[in-house]
């Protein structure tokens, strides 16, 4: 598969995991769902956080969790359209 397309899917998978568990998305949960190495996930999360697709927060027990920003939600919506387009033309 094309590297760029693979990357889009990884980002989608990370953001979708956060969307499905809005108040309780821990890094280990994302790691499990996205099937990435720890190092790669850390890089992706940093990039997505820097790009304001998600926000890192800490709960009362000082554990990290993630929430989607508006930009993150928009990415998920756009991804469906992009995926629909790519699939329908087999690109």
């Amino acid at each position: 598969m094309n590297r760029k397309r693979e990357r889009l899917e990884i980002i989608y998978s990370i953001l979708k995991t956060i969307q499905e568990n809005p108040k309780n998305t821990k890094p280990t949960h994302i790691l499990y769902k996205s099937n990435l190495s720890h190092q790669m996930l850390t890089e992706y999360l940093k990039e997505l956080s820097d790009g304001k697709f998600l926000e890192e927060k800490t709960d009362k027990q000082s554990k990290k969790y993630y929430v989607l920003t508006e930009k993150g939600f928009k990415y998920l919506q756009d991804y469906q359209i992009v995926q629909g387009f790519l699939d329908s033309y087999g690109l």
Partner: protein
């Protein structure tokens, strides 16, 4: 001898209308796929967008030529109009239509190949342009080349449908198969004006299917 037009006189105004419909749909697909490219940055999506832009340009020239003919010739359109009788502007318009259409289809073939080798694109473009420019019978070469390209594109979309069976892939595969049949129909135009009309109707059906898929993909 280059046949520019075998359109039955009663069909000429529909011909112009069809040309504008094909132009609008092609440019819509081009603009939409470019917006997709901006989101995903995939090169073959950019090429897909460029290919429809060229196809749109080809229809733009066709529409301009048809309007020019329609406004200048009020009678005796029936039968064949020879390119030589249309004057330099029309000849230029027809040549640009053929050139842009073949370039558009060649780029679309390249986009569906999903190749990262840009040399393949250049070979396709050079072969397409030189075949048209060096040919003694430009229309014959055009239809031969474009039918081969459309056949390859249809093959890709049929294959895509069997890999990923759903309504959208079916619509695209059907659209390009119908478009190819319409193109083959056009080759038969010298035998009967009926083929001119049926070719345009098939092209209209193909563009309607493409537009239907376009509206489905745009839905969030």
């Amino acid at each position: 001898m280059y046949y520019a037009c075998y359109a039955p006189p009663w069909f000429f105004k529909y011909d112009i209308l069809f040309g504008f419909i094909f132009l609008i749909v092609s440019l819509l697909i081009s603009a939409f796929s470019y917006s997709i490219y901006k989101k995903c940055q995939l090169k073959n999506v950019r090429e897909f967008s460029i290919s429809f832009f060229f196809i749109g340009l080809a229809y733009l020239f066709q529409s301009i030529i048809n309007l020019y003919i329609f406004s200048n010739i009020h009678s005796g359109i029936c039968g064949a109009l020879m390119l030589g009788n249309l004057g330099f502007l029309s000849y230029l318009g027809v040549s640009l239509h053929l050139l842009f259409m073949v370039i558009g289809l060649a780029i679309l073939v390249y986009a569906t190949l999903k190749s990262r080798e840009s040399k393949i694109l250049w070979v396709l473009l050079i072969v397409s342009a030189s075949t048209l420019l060096l040919s003694k019978n430009i229309l014959y070469s055009f239809f031969l080349l474009s039918t081969i390209y459309l056949g390859l594109i249809s093959w890709h979309f049929i294959d895509n449908y069997f890999t990923n069976k759903n309504k959208k892939t079916l619509l695209v595969a059907l659209a390009f198969v119908v478009l190819t049949i319409g193109w083959v129909d056009f080759i038969l135009v010298p035998y009967s004006p009926f083929f001119y009309v049926s070719s345009h109707l098939l092209q209209l059906l193909a563009f309607a299917l493409i537009f239907w898929n376009f509206s489905l993909v745009r839905k969030k």
